[in-house]
Symmetry: C2
Subunit: 131 residues, 2 copies
DNA sequence: TTTTCAGTTGACGTAAACGTTAATAAGTTG
DNA sequence: CAACTTATTAACGTTTACGTCAACTGAAAA
């Protein structure tokens, strides 16, 4: 059975403000149904929203996030459209793989730094002669 | 021997504008030396700048990038300072590991999507009966 | 029925990260 | 030396992603 959320329900659940939800609708990222004048969010809206928020955490802009969501939504009939989605998906995939490598580099550098500092700290704590 | 760059040299080299370099100086991310009134960027400025740009590509804000660069620059004498750097570094490391996992999730989803679309495409091209 | 409460639509405000323009100075080239 | 060229500071403009506030609308509770 379908769960429904009011705007503040969903906002509270995912720790954002109602304003954010209205804005995402304004830019076409979400399309909740209306019950009279009020918005009603279904489960698929929540899932979509969670994808948006993950994208935001990763530093993507909203248009870029919209692009990626479009990749999923598109259920194209035309072969050329399929090929297009395939191409755009591959490009994004490429970007993301690069981003992962960059992040792994940062992680490794931080890890190395950590080891160095921990070593220095141990020497200090032991009362090393070189100090 | 030390390489020097004028502001437009460095901007061109890393495909940004001089304005960006002046701005990064304004917020304390870079500190080029002065030759009279003009800025001169040394190799360490370039390296630092490349770290900044990588951070930007990864979606970090400039203050956050400044924090991370501080971790490297800090060469603390006090034990408490060392412990502080260690703590902050660990926190960042944690964030980054989460970000890597998020990105890997996105990558996997895109990869799966790719396979599905490629399959559909092949069926269409073969002139599948279900169409 | 009268608050009251959550929700609605504008509309303007804001912070970050620069872009753009103006006015000026300092080398460098013909 | 005049004319460029490249640099400088200062200041205002711009976009993104909302925050904030005002005025209004239903629905529900007292």
């Amino acid at each position: 059975m379908e769960r429904h959320y009011t705007i503040s329900d969903l906002a509270e659940l995912l720790d954002i403000t109602p304003r954010t939800l209205r804005y995402y609708e304004e830019v076409g990222l979400l399309t909740p149904i209306r019950q009279g004048t009020q918005r009603l969010y279904r489960d698929r809206d929540r899932v979509r929203l969670q994808l948006i928020l993950r994208g935001r955490r990763l530093g993507f802009g909203l248009p870029e996030i919209a692009d990626m969501l479009d990749l999923y939504d598109a259920d194209p009939t035309e072969i050329t459209q399929l090929q297009d989605v395939l191409q755009r998906g591959d490009k994004k995939l490429h970007d993301i793989e690069r981003q992962i490598r960059d992040l792994e580099a940062v992680r490794d550098e931080l890890t190395e730094l950590r080891t160095r500092i921990a070593k220095t700290l141990l020497q200090k704590l032991r009362g090393d002669p070189t100090e």
